[in-house]
């Protein structure tokens, strides 16, 4: 039994937005795997919850006429991984969210909740950052689109207002066509884990299969929020991918990251992971994209 004041099961998105607007104390709950834990801890005890659990209009993956992939924010990790569109066009995103917690968590947890929780360790975040995803935030009064790269503002904080619901995540074809991708989650265990570090790489080889046409590198837990490493990315554009270049990218990424020491891991250890995982993730993404060394 959770100590909550009230749960309002919204009938549809509009109903949910109105409920959020009506009750200034209320907060959104989707899959529940984060919010209910906070209620149990006492941090959110007595909360008034507006449930958007499995609302059909917020659930599912579709491809639009322009080739954009649109993921409903309430889509579970398990459903994303198994979705044929994801499997065909951005399988590495499906793989990334397939590393959240364990199978039961992935069945219940949603990609929107993962982002809105604001944690730097969110397994969906680095790859979505690398994909330049756009997020649609809607309230009863307004609707706006925010690039995921501008979504996180600090540990557990995002630009989303209390009365806004993240409705969908959009990925444009220019950001995935021709790319190979790889997300590496590093934790103390292989499952049921919070990332000690997460590294997402997206690489697009030029037609010669040796030169880098585009490279994106993003991390979780390398800073208080998920980050893109544009300085490292720039080094690669137009260059032939070699071990030396990989080393330079990795070092640059480490130089621009700001991991902190905590009881979970030291800054020094995280820096080691930032460099090593960059090499491995880019290498794998490159191979997947058909690049050769």
């Amino acid at each position: 039994m959770f100590d909550i004041k009230r749960l309002y099961p919204a009938k549809d998105l509009n109903d949910a937005l109105c409920a959020l607007a009506d009750d200034p104390e209320s907060m959104v709950i989707a899959g529940g795997t984060d919010v209910l834990i906070r209620v149990r801890e006492g941090k959110a005890a007595g909360a008034s919850l507006v449930s958007i659990h499995e609302l059909p209009e917020l659930t599912g993956v579709r491809m639009e006429a322009d080739g954009s992939i649109v993921i409903g924010a309430c889509t579970s990790f398990a459903r994303i991984t198994a979705d044929p569109i994801i499997e065909e066009f951005v399988p590495y995103l499906g793989e990334a969210v397939d590393q959240v917690g364990g199978p039961q968590t992935r069945e219940a947890g949603t990609i929107g909740g993962n982002l809105c929780n604001g944690a730097t360790s969110a397994d969906s975040a680095p790859m979505l950052l690398a994909l330049n995803a756009e997020l649609t935030l809607q309230s009863a009064a307004s609707k706006r689109v925010v690039p995921v790269t501008a979504f996180h503002t600090g540990p557990g904080r995002t630009v989303r207002n209390r009365d806004e619901i993240l409705t969908e995540i959009r990925i444009f074809p220019a950001d995935f066509q021709g790319f190979g991708g790889q997300y590496i989650k590093y934790g103390k265990r292989a499952a049921m884990e919070i990332a000690t570090l997460g590294c997402a790489a997206l690489v697009k080889p030029a037609t010669d299969q040796r030169t880098v046409a585009d490279l994106r590198l993003a991390y979780g837990v390398a800073a208080p929020t998920p980050i893109r490493c544009t300085e490292a990315e720039t080094l690669a554009h137009g260059e032939v991918l070699t071990d030396a270049l990989l080393g330079e990218i990795a070092r640059t990424a480490a130089a621009h990251a700001s991991p902190r020491s905590s009881w979970r891991a030291s800054r020094e250890f995280r820096l080691q992971l930032i460099t090593e995982l960059a090499r491995r993730a880019i290498r794998s993404a490159w191979t997947r994209a058909g690049g050769v060394f």
């Binding site: 100590d3 005890a45 265990r189 292989a190 499952a191 049921m192 080393g247 080691q272 090593e276």
Partner: protein, 767 residues
């Protein structure tokens, strides 16, 4: 033969169908919920409370504080009671305590009609606390001027013990020409049991009788401690142990039972339920003791072990619990495993600190002792340039060993076969050669560790076990044990031994899995890997007694002598092999005879004055990913000599579970604290027990050497599988990389630091 067969577990059906009732499944619907108010600091004094807001929460029944409880200090260790005062456990806590010694110490308790009310009120209890500095380590606690945790133990040392063996000294041995000496500081952290069923008890009264239903390994001891804590005659307390979701030693301690028992007495006998959250279980019950050691070893150039010194500091945490028994065990295994030709100097301290109370945990000091013994052994062999297995064969304990202090004797010896079997299984000799002189980012190694383990607590403590059996009209037999099934399979092997000793098929035996101290015969419970060996003997003796009574009664029915009659598979057979009656015939007649009705029952106590050593070893093959600091276990093989196996398939399963626990101890498990001794990772996400994805294939092998002192030739198996895994993996790391790590767990961050210091991570080219 019922013994030696891999029959299915007798409780498996109830467990796969959900019929098995655990403590949580039996709580009366109207039970009050008790929520313990825990100290938000690890050291200090409660000076007072403001309960105004808490008492105003609707649903609250009563709030009790540390100033309300009886002024009685009691012990909690699941040890047999001693009627000799000097051997009694330390009585160092009350039901609730004003002197705070651990983070989360129990300072008050809210009783409410429902859980949410109890939790809300508990959050609103305001305690006025004088905070003292928290002591993390034995060294801090032993330093002059450190706050005293218990006035009975000024200086915070619970016990200091030492011994010397041999005619010479370490320095003399070290002066041997060409002698190789190694020394170092080593340590292991506190870890937690992580039984899947939380700690849970509830209590209620019927008349003057207080019934405590609890997930405990030790119902009879719980009854005694509840009696002691409440200051009432022990038999006023009745303890019922239902099905149990694991204990691993945490529930070989008396935890929340006395509080539940006392609360019901304060509330008119109303049922009071205390179910600890997972966070409370991890952070506020018991742990495995953390140890620090300073050790030395010296060998002659040919690899003969000459002498060792051993100084251990065992971190007891805030309350004595099992106390120095763990440090004594660790020192003993260091002594028992190897032959120091010149001398062994051993010294152990058990010291109070403000870390969580350490108690019993699977292996009871031997996993720690095995780590230091086997890490030091490999470091010495490495310094000698000698194959560590050859070093062990040259120096390890031999057949007929008698412990010079307690007289425990190795009545049967299978360690030589264990080592050879493991050597062959892991392909030791070829792998040791193959993995020499590796370069590159991924390196492989093989390592091993051995251990000895006694089969009960005699002669350090009492060993006693009892069993009762009754024959029913249809020839079936009900078995009641005082020993407890906690998940390990005890009831199944007792069933097999009962069937074997009476002469019945196993499916004619009904064992009662629930212990009830008002009904069940006396036994001290599940610990020390004692039950198959000690309680099993009680079962065997009782079965033989019942068999005699059945045959005597049958002889009367047949108007002949019982001599020459036997029972086989439920049939009573005469000298010629002819079935003359069935046990069912005897059951019916003995109940309903108009001339000689007599309920055929038997009850025996095994007062055990025997002990013996089980042995075993773990062999590990690993691959190290240098740049990520990760160890991948490629193969893990445990080989055990636990005498004759009563149920080979259950034995194998028991070994798997122990190996898994050892794997966690090796690679990922440790309780983490801040400087103020507050636990940082007291949940199952941050405390890292292995998942299925972290576990390699687990290979369990056995050497079966009959032990003449055990029932049907068996000896300890319950705890041993967890013992040798961590040092074996640690030693494989030494082989793979040449890096000697002196502490557990072998976490990636720690390994990266070691690899960097050893120059294994290279420079620019590597990044």
């Amino acid at each position: 033969m019922a013994v030696g067969q891999s029959i299915p577990r007798v409780d498996a059906f109830a467990k796969v169908t959900g019929e098995a009732k655990y403590t949580a499944d039996l709580v009366p619907a109207n039970a009050y919920v008790a929520k313990i108010v825990r100290a938000p600091v690890a050291s200090g004094w409660v000076r007072g409370f403001d309960l105004t807001e808490a008492q105003a929460v609707p649903g609250v029944v009563r709030i009790f504080t540390c100033f309300d409880v009886p002024d009685i200090q009691f012990p909690t260790a699941g040890h047999p009671w001693s009627t000799v005062p000097s051997h009694q456990d330390i009585c160092d806590r009350k039901l609730l305590n004003a002197h705070i010694r651990v983070w989360g110490d129990e300072i008050a308790v809210v009783v409410a009609r429902d859980r949410i009310s109890a939790e809300r009120a508990a959050r609103l209890v305001k305690a006025d606390i004088e905070v003292l500095p928290a002591l993390s380590t034995p060294d801090e606690a032993m330093a002059p001027g450190a706050p005293c945790l218990h006035e009975e133990k000024p200086g915070n040392v619970v016990v200091h013990s030492q011994f010397h063996l041999g005619d010479g000294t370490f320095d003399e041995a070290a002066a041997t020409p060409g002698a190789v000496v190694v020394s170092g500081h080593y340590s292991v952290p506190a870890v937690q049991h992580c039984h899947m069923e939380p700690v849970h008890s509830f209590a209620y009264m019927e008349g003057q009788k207080i019934t405590v239903v609890s997930s405990t390994q030790i119902p009879h001891i719980v009854r005694r401690v509840c009696g002691q804590a409440l200051g009432i005659p022990w038999s006023r307390v009745r303890v019922i142990k239902p099905y149990m979701g694991g204990g691993f030693g945490n529930k070989q301690d008396v935890l929340v039972e006395p509080l539940a028992a006392w609360l019901t007495t304060q509330l008119g006998g109303h049922a009071v339920n205390i179910e600890l959250s997972r966070e409370e279980v991890l952070g506020c019950t018991r742990t495995r003791h953390a140890f620090d050691w300073d050790v030395q070893a010296v060998a002659s150039p040919d690899g003969t072990l000459l002498a060792r010194t051993y100084c251990a500091k065992s971190n007891q945490g805030g309350y004595a619990s099992h106390g120095h028994a763990i440090a004594a065990n660790a020192a003993n295994v260091f002594k028992q495993c190897y032959r120091d030709r010149v001398s062994l100097d051993s010294e152990s301290y058990t010291v109070y600190t403000n870390r969580p109370t350490a108690g019993a945990m699977r292996g009871y000091g031997i996993p720690q002792g095995c780590f230091i013994t086997e890490a030091l052994t490999d470091d010495l062999a490495y310094a000698l340039g000698m194959d560590p297995l050859e070093f062990r064969l040259k120096n390890c304990v031999q057949a007929g060993y008698v412990d010079p202090h307690n007289g425990i004797t190795m009545h049967a010896y299978g360690l030589d076969q264990v080592l050879e079997k493991g050597r062959a299984a892991i392909d030791w000799d070829a792998k040791r050669r193959l993995y020499q002189n590796q370069t590159g980012d991924r390196r492989r190694g093989v390592g091993m560790a051995l251990f000895t383990y006694k089969s009960n607590v005699y002669p350090i403590s009492l060993e006693t076990a009892s069993c009762r059996m009754m024959l029913h009209e249809d020839g079936r037999v009900t078995v009641q044990m005082g020993a407890t099934e906690i998940g390990q399979g005890a009831d199944t092997v007792f069933t097999q031994m009962a069937a074997e000793s009476i002469g019945l098929p196993v499916d004619a035996i009904d064992i009662q899995s629930v212990q009830d101290t008002d009904v069940s015969p006396f036994d001290t419970g599940a610990y020390a890997s004692r039950q198959t060996y000690v309680s099993g003997m009680a079962c065997k003796m009782t079965g033989e007694s019942l068999r005699g009574k059945i045959l005597d009664y049958a002889a009367g029915m047949l108007e002949r002598s019982a001599e020459g009659l036997t029972i086989t598979d439920g049939q009573i057979v005469d000298e010629t092999g002819q079935t003359v009656l069935t046990v069912a015939d005897v059951g019916m007649e003995s109940c309903y005879s108009l001339t000689n009705s007599r309920h055929l029952t038997a009850e025996e106590t095994y007062h055990c004055e025997q002990n013996t050593f089980a042995t075993g070893a773990c062999f590990a093959e690993i691959e190290v990913d240098l740049a990520l600091g990760q160890i991948h276990v490629l193969r893990l093989v445990n080989v055990h000599d636990s005498g004759r196996l009563i149920n080979p398939k259950l034995a194998e399963a028991q070994v798997h579970g122990g190996m898994s626990m050892g794997l966690g101890y090796a690679l990922s498990e440790e309780m983490l604290f801040d400087d103020a001794c507050k636990p940082l990772n007291a949940n199952l996400l941050d405390y890292k027990i292995p998942t299925a994805m972290d576990t390699p294939k687990l290979e369990a092998l056995f050497v079966e050497v009959d032990d003449p002192t055990g029932p049907y030739g068996n000896k300890a198996l319950g705890e041993p599988p967890a013992i040798p895994v961590a040092p074996a993996i640690r030693n494989a790391l030494l082989h793979a990389t040449g890096v000697s790590v002196h502490s557990l767990p072998l976490t990636p961050q720690k390994l990266i630091e070691h690899f960097r210091a050893a120059g294994l991570l290279g420079g620019e080219d590597h990044v």
